[in-house]
Symmetry: C2
Subunit: 283 residues, 2 copies
């Protein structure tokens, strides 16, 4: 049984945003995450509610989504629990841990590192899919048969790849400006080479546009992407995923949003649509 240390709690739209720290078995260090419990969870603590896991992007922590995405008001209306883990282990004194914003601290990429020294702690796939998933089921009034996943940028990559790999766990899926083909962009190549080594067959197990052809999942996938996102053509490469989805008639709704960039201003604008998409899938 995990012991959670409560770091901070704020009331929000009739519910509570709470920040926790705990000793992670998967990452062998303390990990942080945040939880939004909607008013329904406070009113009827014995009733289990659908739960949505949010995976953040590069440099983010467990705080960004709760503070900036405007999700709580819709989670409150729809009766959804929100969970947001940090984006990596931190403060491990590993070489190059804090040297760049797109690798190491704040850039765990939601994969299990196999290369030393990262493999000792950077086990974010196990952390999110198993440890945190189980912990949420134990500690909060969450119906783990009604769990969904979504995220932004690196976290959009995480949400799509984990939903494709673990269809038994995630029953709803969406993404904002996801990294769609990490084996083909600099962010992904740097991360995969550093965490996984040079074997491209292993990289392929963590690339949305490749995985989509192998997954048994047929979760309707809503993607919003800003047309003025500065990373659109260099790092995110959504065309690769759109084409792969079209090839196999995957139920994907890709929306290019004119004028929008990569920021939380973009995310907040379309958050309502995403939460309604998840609520419908998890109903």
């Amino acid at each position: 049984m995990n012991t959670l240390e409560l770091i901070n709690q704020n009331h929000s739209f009739g519910g509570t945003v709470t920040f926790y720290k705990h000793a992670s078995r998967a990452c062998k260090t303390d990990m942080n995450f945040s939880v939004y419990l909607p008013p329904q969870a406070l009113a009827e603590p014995n009733k289990k509610l659908p739960v949505l896991f949010w995976l953040s992007g590069l440099t983010c922590t467990e705080e960004n989504m709760m503070a900036k995405a405007g999700a709580q008001q819709y989670a409150a209306e729809l009766g959804l629990i929100l969970i947001a883990p940090d984006t990596s282990p931190r403060d491990l004194n590993l070489p190059k841990e804090n040297e760049s914003w797109d690798f190491g601290s704040g850039a765990g990429f939601y994969i299990n590192a196999s290369k030393s020294p990262w493999n000792s702690h950077y086990q974010m796939e196990d952390y999110v899919v198993s440890e945190l998933f189980d912990l949420v089921g134990e500690q909060f009034p969450a119906d783990m048969n009604k769990a969904g996943i979504f995220g932004h940028s690196m976290g959009g990559h995480g949400a799509i790849t984990l939903a494709f790999k673990y269809p038994e766990k995630y029953k709803s899926l969406s993404a904002f400006a996801p990294i769609c083909a990490p084996t083909l962009c600099l962010w992904g190549k740097k991360a995969f080479a550093g965490y996984l080594g040079s074997d491209k067959n292993i990289w392929a197990e963590h690339d949305a546009h490749l995985l989509i052809k192998k997954t048994a999942a047929r979760l309707p996938l809503l993607i919003d992407q800003g047309s003025e996102d500065p990373f659109l053509q260099s790092q995110l490469l959504p065309d690769h995923l759109v084409n792969a989805a079209n090839d196999i008639d995957y139920p994907m709704h890709y929306r290019l949003q004119t004028g929008y960039d990569h920021s939380y201003y973009f995310i907040a604008t379309f958050m309502e649509d995403h939460l309604r998409h998840h609520a419908k899938q998890l109903a």
Copy 2:
């Protein structure tokens, strides 16, 4: 005519959040502010829209409200322009400018300093009421006969006192967790002594619970205050304002919100009510 330097622009709920810098006449240094133009302003640039000035609290900048308050979605619905100035001049190399979080940089208190060295630059009352007000009328499609003001904490103090002093300018008013009696709390005493000197008669011109008995304004005043706000009884002292309002039958609606604290999680929860309050007054 002011020249505005565009620092950054993000699309948000069909409109734009834009960050500007400009050479301020009142503060004799560069000042920053942000603007939300709702979709109505982009669709009909010749039509003038109501405009709301937001004054932030201690340590904040022109960014906090735009990033965290969830205001844009309702401004978009209601057709309101939002303006958020920074909370003080910055980077002036004044002694003690950056020494504490409740005085100097980030803590202008929306008053005109008379004491040296602050009086050379800290002219936030003139800046907000005259310079920025006029600049907004010149540069944006804002109907300056339909201008309102609101704010949080130090900015709630600013909004209430400026609305009371300048009823010809502000036609709607509200506040989140305002400093209601700055002449009686440590934050206010420190700021007023530092910026204005020791004359309590001058302090009284910037204290909401004293000004309310002298103002000609009868703007309906909506105040939300969290019951778990750690500054409630030490710094904010709303009872003084509530009692003064009751004494003169001032149209004030004070709401103590159970469980809420002093954060933007609290502000975001009640932002919709505040924007509807302003839209009604400015209709």
